[in-house]
């Protein structure tokens, strides 16, 4: 009748304990945050007594994951940037022009003519040579390397009269857009990491937007300045390589650290051979022996400079330098005259892919338009936290009192369940690394109000069952049983809403959806299973002949 299996009891108690254990760090937010920061800093830069002291603020064996505070609570800047993906088409066409010129020159004289952006138009001297000219131009096409674009070429060549029109194919445009977005994300991420703020959010949104949220930064304008600055990518001659960070580089040289392996330093010539501005593209590929490599392409001026330099320095290493760090220092295997080359090394496929991304990440590939920006001052965030704390406490106390006054001992059980419930919400939020926003706090307060609903349903039901006088044990078990269908229906519908809010919402609204959704899950658990366990424990000890709910 009124029984719960032992394993279920253990499971319920364990679940509560784990939830509360995970929530615990949030009760000591300041020290835990310092501890986490110190752990990270020691990881990156090594230990100092000061950092050790900060790390000791919170024991290592305790959980240390915290609920992230959203921008509206912590203060910071939020930007939504639209990447002008079409910019890239035009620069691709610019780079195609010399190739087209060179391949057609032997057939007929060619002249470039005015064309809309993203299109290349060439007038050929002898219209009768159109067929061989088209054929020659089409040999420049390369297959598109994506799954959806398989079997298609990257450029479309058409001829009419004495004009040849070259455009990017749709498949190539898609692939280009995809690359542009990845590059932009990567560049922006690197830029912001450089500034070293805590927990920035950099996310792609939709097909061509990037959401950037940086807590603790003074204003959106400041953030824009960081993202707008293009990092310098250069190719420099290497003078020598060593492990001494205090080595004197000598006149005209610089000493730069290796990006991957700490403790390795390069002395390079400060004047670059070519810079990232002159790089058109970089792709992961394979060398003639089938080993992973990175192929790259320079624009015309870059190609000329690079060709001359490599021809004169076969066998010598040169450094690829990004943000004053050497990301790679390959050895020149042969002269590279055509402006495109291949970087080999001891790469895995993953490394070559990363290097290609890094190479491309030198400069933002396309312009950004900022379509939404928000700055929230830290004082306002603090005000909101304070107000939220007061409101939540008052709401909590009011609901606890109301429940106790209405249902006595059973209300007291429900109250304990409610406290566990709020603890578990925080535990889960910390576990999944969710972000708490101001509407999220409202979601928790609302959960406090609504969580007792399940208990109210059960207790009202028990009261009704008591009227038909079947004895307290039977009434309690029937109450729990019969209230379940209403509890489930009511919570599933609310859960559906939380999912819709999560899918369609953004920012603070999404934070609200997360707390609302988690609150539903934990409140059904605590209000149903936890109170039931408490009631059973109490009933087994006291064996009351009559009960009042």
């Amino acid at each position: 009748m009124l029984q719960i299996d032992l394993w279920k009891r253990v499971l319920i108690i364990l679940t509560c304990a784990v939830g509360l254990w995970l929530a615990l760090p949030n009760a000591f937010y300041g020290p835990v945050e310092q501890h986490n920061d110190a752990v990270k800093a020691i990881d990156v830069a090594g230990s100092t007594p000061e950092l050790e002291a900060q790390r000791a603020l919170w024991p290592n064996w305790m959980p240390s994951q915290l609920v992230n505070l959203g921008l509206d609570l912590r203060g910071g800047a939020h930007l939504l940037a639209e990447v002008k993906v079409a910019d890239v088409y035009a620069s691709r066409m610019e780079a195609t022009w010399p190739e087209v010129r060179d391949s057609l020159r032997s057939i007929t004289p060619v002249r470039r003519v005015e064309a809309p952006e993203g299109e290349l138009r060439v007038r050929i001297g002898d219209a009768a040579q159109m067929a061989p000219a088209l054929e020659a131009a089409r040999t420049l096409a390369r297959p598109v390397q994506t799954i959806t674009g398989a079997g298609q070429n990257d450029i479309v060549v058409n001829g009419s009269g004495d004009i040849i029109t070259i455009t990017l194919s749709d498949a190539e445009k898609q692939a280009t857009d995809e690359r542009t977005m990845q590059q932009s994300l990567e560049i922006i991420r690197r830029r912001i990491d450089e500034v070293g703020t805590r927990e920035p959010t950099i996310q792609r949104q939709g097909s061509d937007r990037i959401l950037i949220q940086v807590p603790g930064i003074g204003s959106a304008a400041e953030l824009k300045a960081i993202i707008g600055t293009t990092a310098q990518l250069t190719f420099n001659p290497v003078v020598n390589r060593g492990a001494d960070e205090n080595a004197a580089p000598g006149l005209g040289n610089s000493l730069l650290p290796d990006a991957e392996s700490p403790g390795t330093f390069y002395v390079i010539e400060t004047a670059p051979v070519v810079t990232g501005e002159e790089l058109v593209d970089a792709q992961p590929s394979f060398d003639q022996n089938g080993r992973p490599a990175v192929s790259f392409r320079f624009d015309t001026t870059g190609a000329r400079k690079f060709g001359t330099y490599t021809a004169e320095n076969i066998g010598a290493p040169f450094a690829i330098v990004l943000d004053n760090k050497v990301i790679s220092a390959p050895t020149i295997q042969s002269a590279i005259p055509g402006g495109s080359g291949i970087i080999t090394g001891n790469f895995t496929v993953e490394e070559s892919t990363n290097l290609a991304v890094l190479l491309r990440a030198g400069a933002l590939p396309a312009g950004l338009t900022f379509v939404e920006e928000r700055t929230i001052g830290p004082e306002l965030g603090q005000d909101s936290i304070d107000a939220g704390k007061i409101a939540t406490s008052v709401a909590f106390i009011a609901v606890l009192f109301f429940m106790w006054a209405s249902y006595g001992l059973f209300g007291f059980f429900a109250n304990i369940a409610l406290i566990i419930n709020v603890g578990m919400i925080f535990g889960l939020l910390s576990l999944i690394g969710a972000t708490l926003t101001l509407p999220g706090i409202a979601g928790i307060v609302l959960t406090v109000g609504m969580a007792v609903d399940a208990n109210v349903l059960i207790f009202e039901r028990i009261r009704e069952e008591l009227k038909t006088a079947k004895g307290p044990a039977r009434a309690i078990s029937l109450g729990y049983e019969r209230a379940l269908s209403a509890i489930l229906d009511a919570n599933i519908t609310t859960f559906i809403i939380a999912i819709i809010l999560f899918v369609l919402g953004s920012g603070p609204v999404r934070g609200f959806a997360v707390t609302l959704g988690l609150g539903i899950v934990t409140s059904v658990f605590t209000a149903y299973f936890v109170t039931r366990l408490m009631v059973v424990f109490w009933f087994e000890r006291r064996r009351p002949k009559t009960i009042t709910v």
């Binding site: 939504l80 204003s219 959106a220 338009t369 900022f370 379509v371 939404e372 920006e373 928000r374 700055t375 929230i376 306002l380 005000d383 909101s384 107000a387 939220g388 007061i390 409101a391 939540t392 709401a395 909590f396 009011a398 609901v399 109301f402 429940m403 006054a405 209405s406 249902y407 101001l438 509407p439 706090i441 409202a442 307060v445 609302l446 406090v448 109000g449 609504m450 007792v452 609903d453 109210v456 349903l457 009202e460 019969r482 209403a486 229906d489 009511a490 919570n491 519908t493 609310t494 559906i496 809403i497 819709i500 809010l501 369609l504 919402g505 920012g507 603070p508 609204v509 609200f512 959806a513």
Partner: protein
């Protein structure tokens, strides 16, 4: 001595004034629609684009002086409103300045913002800008679309869920009640011209979630009672079900309202609009669960003979609600 919101056994006839209550609801919905279409909503920048600056100063806000200071910048429509917060520190005087989206700009330029900040500093030297938000017209257009989609998707999902769990009559009744709640909420925002922005849409969706919660509990009991009392009049069974669940309905609304009122008065002005919407929705939603949803179910009639298939015309279909 236990706290009781209502006596243990109630026997209220909720259909006694059905014509009056249902009629009042209809009129209220119509009025809300009229107000919405004539007065419109006080859209925040989320939905119309533009820039808002939240200012804070230790001197009282002089709206006229702010306006005069900003006039030479020629930024088009500017609205300035003081924010009153009874719970907050009286030394803080907060105002919201809203500037319309500028021609040809997707978002506010840093120059424009620093011009505005500079101009306001001339009239209020100690002013600080605790938040600056700017949304481009393109994004705001999309946000409006998404908002409508979210509300429609929620209503649709609930229509289907209730239909699967109960009967189509219940489903229509429930969604009609939700529609009633949503329209009345939009209506009150229109009447009071409270700023209508993205969190308010979240609030409306929450109201939908809360109100359906209430309705489902009554429906659940109704379904149980319909099985129990096969011979009794539908109207009687409905009254019985509502009476049986009345104590729970009021308790839950009571606790939720307690929590919400705390948030409304103490939670600060940033989320006041959001909390106001939910508070209003809980009141309207509780009413609609009792007075709107089941009237429609009564009007549509319910299949009573659960053992036979599709005997749906129902002898109670024509009862005058």
């Amino acid at each position: 001595m236990r706290l009781r919101l209502i006596p243990d056994d109630t026997n209220i006839d909720f259909f006694k004034h059905a014509k009056l209550t249902f009629g009042a609801s209809m009129v209220a919905v119509l009025l809300a629609l009229v107000v919405w279409f004539t007065m419109g909503l006080n859209y925040g920048i989320d939905f119309r684009g533009g820039t808002t600056l939240r200012t804070q100063s230790d001197a009282p806000v002089d709206v006229a002086a702010y306006r005069t200071a900003l006039a030479p910048l020629q930024l088009g429509d500017i609205s300035i409103s003081e924010v009153y917060d009874p719970a907050s520190n009286s030394k803080k005087h907060v105002a919201m300045v809203r500037i319309q989206a500028q021609e040809g700009e997707e978002a506010a330029t840093p120059e424009m913002i620093s011009q505005v900040e500079g101009a306001l500093k001339t009239v209020a030297p100690n002013i600080v800008f605790t938040s600056v938000e700017s949304v481009g017209p393109k994004v705001s257009g999309e946000l409006i679309q998404t908002a409508f989609l979210a509300v429609a998707a929620s209503l649709g999902a609930i229509l289907i869920y209730i239909w699967l769990r109960f009967e189509w009559q219940f489903s229509l009744g429930a969604v009609a009640a939700l529609f009633h709640d949503v329209i009345l909420t939009i209506g009150i925002f229109s009447v009071l011209q409270i700023r209508f922005d993205l969190p308010v849409i979240a609030a409306i969706l929450t109201i939908i979630g809360y109100s359906i919660n209430d309705t489902v509990v009554i429906f659940d009991r109704l379904r149980e009672n319909l099985r129990k009392y096969k011979k009794r009049d539908l109207r009687e069974v409905m009254n019985l079900s509502v009476n049986e669940t009345l104590s729970r309905t009021l308790m839950t609304s009571g606790t939720t309202l307690l929590a919400l009122l705390a948030l409304l008065f103490l939670g600060g002005d940033v989320i006041r609009g959001f909390v106001f919407a939910i508070t209003w929705g809980v009141i309207v939603g509780t009413y609609s669960s009792v007075y709107v949803a089941k009237n429609i179910v009564l009007f549509l009639g319910v299949k009573r003979d659960w053992s036979k298939k599709d005997n749906n015309t129902g002898q109670y279909a024509n009862i005058d609600a």
